[in-house]
């Protein structure tokens, strides 16, 4: 189900539809709170596409994505405080994320994947610790204010910020489609399999692991900057476990190793708690039960489920396994 060849369709058609839908959304919403939820869907999509490329496709586990999310946010907040304009502070924050990833990744990626998981986890913990204790710089547990975004003298409204996030999220989905729809996707897939075979075919396995690790952290940092702008503040909770849990939940619910799993998962994870508030005290319990049901009955997430449904509805023949062809030797 989560095979690249099964998803080898167009690269830009579905993202275009998503862009149109995303641009219509604000006209259907009644409150600023709903606009904030829609913005967070975009942010989680950006964050989880990075995790999806790293883990869902390349099979490399990182438990420190929340650290890079927070690193991007803090770097942006500090640079803005130092008087940097948006168009300089944003790329600089992403470069900081890329640089830190290289420092962690270069010595580690020659080793097996679980070292990467441990090291990135440690980075996340260290970052959260520094953010809450180095009060002079980071503002401690209270965090720092992030001034409203100003571009070329124009004060960006929350709706405009949302539009910006939609465009970036769609661009990130396009990037992912380009990667998994071409040779890069096959190379990422080969990393999770046999490294000797991949190397013998000319793949520089260490370099590609590093590349996808850097890409996923930069996307996490980008999402972090977005979250800082939407929240108008940064604080240590950006880098703590609940964010990691959210990443994992979004990925599992949406479907790892699928093109639109991150978006679908983000929508569900942001909206579901809103629907469940009606159940009062039972909310957390119900949320947990629903997640468990997802794991049990939709191992490929919503993406896999929707795909199977489409195949069943529109191409009944394709859902059945292809007949085995006999090839004479």
């Amino acid at each position: 189900m989560n095979r690249i060849h099964a998803l080898g369709t167009g690269i830009w058609q579905i993202p275009l539809l998503i862009l149109l839908a995303g641009l219509v959304v604000p006209h259907l919403l009644s409150s600023g709170f709903h606009l904030r939820l829609a913005s967070i869907v975009c942010i989680y999509t950006i964050l989880c596409v990075g995790f999806n490329l790293l883990y869902g496709y390349a099979g490399q586990i990182s438990m420190g994505q929340q650290g890079f999310f927070a690193l991007g946010a803090y770097a942006y907040a500090l640079l803005t405080q130092a008087g940097w304009p948006f168009y300089a502070a944003l790329p600089a924050s992403l470069l900081v994320c890329a640089g830190v990833t290289l420092v962690i990744g270069v010595p580690l990626l020659r080793l097996r994947s679980h070292y990467l998981a441990m090291a990135s986890l440690c980075f996340g913990l260290i970052f959260a610790g520094v953010a809450s204790r180095w009060i002079d710089v980071t503002g401690g547990t209270a965090g720092m204010m992030v001034p409203s975004l100003k571009v070329a003298g124009h004060l960006v409204s929350r709706t405009e910020l949302y539009y910006g996030l939609v465009v970036i999220a769609v661009a990130v989905l396009l990037l992912q489609n380009f990667i998994v729809g071409t040779h890069l996707g096959r190379v990422l897939y080969s990393l999770r399999g046999d490294e000797t075979a991949a190397e013998s075919l000319g793949v520089n396995v260490t370099a590609y692991k590093l590349r996808v690790f850097v890409l996923s952290s930069v996307l996490a940092g980008l999402a972090g900057v977005g979250f800082a702008l939407v929240s108008r503040q940064v604080n240590p909770s950006f880098g703590e476990f609940p964010i990691l849990v959210t990443i994992l939940t979004v990925s599992v619910v949406g479907g790892l190793g699928t093109r639109y799993g991150a978006l679908l998962g983000a929508i569900v994870v942001v909206l579901a708690p809103q629907g469940l508030t009606a159940f009062g005290d039972l909310e957390t319990l119900l949320y947990g039960v629903c997640l468990l049901l997802f794991l049990l009955f939709m191992p490929h997430g919503l993406s896999g489920f929707l795909r199977a449904l489409c195949l069943r509805l529109f191409r009944p023949a394709a859902a059945k396994p292809a007949p085995r062809l006999k090839v004479s030797p």
């Binding site: 690269i11 990037l175 990667i179 729809g181 890069l184 999770r192 013998s200 075919l201 030797p329």
Partner: protein, 268 residues
């Protein structure tokens, strides 16, 4: 070019030059001071009983292992320090004694992995050449289908690779190796586990490839398979090269008969 050929007119141009290669695993000497040369355009066979060191020598040539001593030259370049992933770009391609494919990809996509050394490498360089990458993608699919057709797997291109039986995985590995357009194809026991029909098909494929100019280094202990196929054969026993020559010379060699053929004959 002509000058070079006339210089070596006695032997054909040497593409693979193994000089005193040794490999130790702790106290065990798996390959002991082995030298031989493979001429361009030849099918060169490496035979020997189980445990003779064939796979180890093969892995020294392909770069999976690095030699404890000696030097391996490919196309007149010393290779023993070249990282594994750089070899295919230089024109070497291999198959594995135990097939290694990428689960989760289709048969076609497994073949397409073989194109890697000829494609834009890296995420940023690919992004800078989006149009080119997207355009080549379609041509690559077509080329991969042709390679599958060549080995006789055209009907299975779009299936998950997990569906293929062992014999067809072998053919898939060969198609994947050919995708990089190698000048030297290295096959480690390609006939192992194949039935008679599949083995004959494999022999025909190797001959066809060789006729089109490809040099082949073949490891095998099915000696009958080798006799009709190879221009030259080297025999390994206990890590040492005990003989080298044409198939006829090898068949008549006393040491070979004792170490290998004799042993096999006594089993029969």
């Amino acid at each position: 070019m002509n000058a070079m050929v006339s210089e070596n007119s006695a032997v054909s141009d040497v593409i693979l030059d193994i000089q005193g290669a040794s490999k130790h695993f702790g106290g065990l000497v798996a390959v002991n001071d082995v030298s031989f040369q493979v001429g361009a355009g030849h099918v060169f066979g490496l035979i020997g009983p189980n445990g003779a060191g064939k796979s180890t020598l093969f892995n020294l040539v392909t770069g999976v292992l690095s030699p404890s001593a000696g030097e391996i030259g490919f196309d007149r370049r010393p290779m023993s320090r070249a990282p594994l992933h750089t070899r295919s770009a230089l024109g070497m391609a291999r198959t594995f004694q135990i097939v290694r494919v990428f689960p989760g990809l289709s048969v076609l996509e497994n073949v397409m992995m073989g194109f890697h050394p000829r494609l834009v490498d890296g995420i940023l360089p690919s992004l800078l050449r989006i149009a080119h990458v997207l355009r080549t993608e379609r041509a690559l699919r077509q080329r991969a289908r042709e390679l599958l057709a060549f080995v006789g797997l055209e009907g299975r291109a779009d299936e998950p690779v997990e569906h293929l039986p062992h014999g067809q995985l072998r053919l898939l590995e060969i198609a994947r190796a050919l995708a990089s357009e190698p000048r030297l194809l290295l096959l480690d026991e390609p006939a192992a586990g194949l039935n008679d029909g599949e083995t004959r098909h494999l022999g025909t494929l190797i001959q066809q490839l060789n006729r089109s100019g490809l040099t082949v280094l073949l490891v095998e202990h099915n000696i009958d398979f080798m006799m009709g196929l190879c221009h030259r054969i080297a025999v390994l026993d206990h890590g040492c090269k005990i003989a080298e020559g044409t198939p006829r010379e090898i068949q008549r060699d006393d040491k070979v008969i004792e170490a290998y053929l004799g042993r096999r004959a006594s089993h029969a």
